[in-house]
Subunit: 81 residues, 2 copies
């Protein structure tokens, strides 16, 4: 069982890395990209035998307490059997 | 139209960041996580009026040439209307 956690800056927070990438793309002549935001993601390999419900609770706790700075970031996750 | 590009280290490449997170989780008493890998992801806002085919070609080119170090990383992407 695997869990995928996606962490992004809140939309109200400036993203200088994304901005830099967008500027680079523009300099390279790419006009079809109007905005870039960068985030992180984590793949967690979960112990076998965990119920889906237990996995959700555990992943949500880890995402909130360890992987995300909830002041400026938010997360989503999905679990795959 | 939005594109999501996910960049991960190739599985043959060591991931010290992921390892550090896993160690931290273990010290916190979490036994249900057996492995952690960290990656990056990018959200690209694409210009309206781009065909799906053109968007795919463009995003694939940007992912390969700009967002991914193909020596040690690999990418996947998806496009959302």
């Amino acid at each position: 069982m695997k869990a995928y956690v996606y962490v992004t800056l809140k939309t109200s927070v400036l993203d200088p890395q994304g901005q830099t990438i967008q500027n680079a793309l523009r300099k390279m002549g790419t006009s079809s990209v109007q905005g870039v935001r960068q985030g992180k993601f984590f793949t967690l390999a979960l112990a076998p035998g965990l119920t889906e419900e237990a996995a959700r609770a555990e992943v949500e706790r880890i995402a909130r307490e360890v992987l995300t700075n909830t002041v400026i970031e938010e997360f989503t996750y999905r679990i795959e059997a």
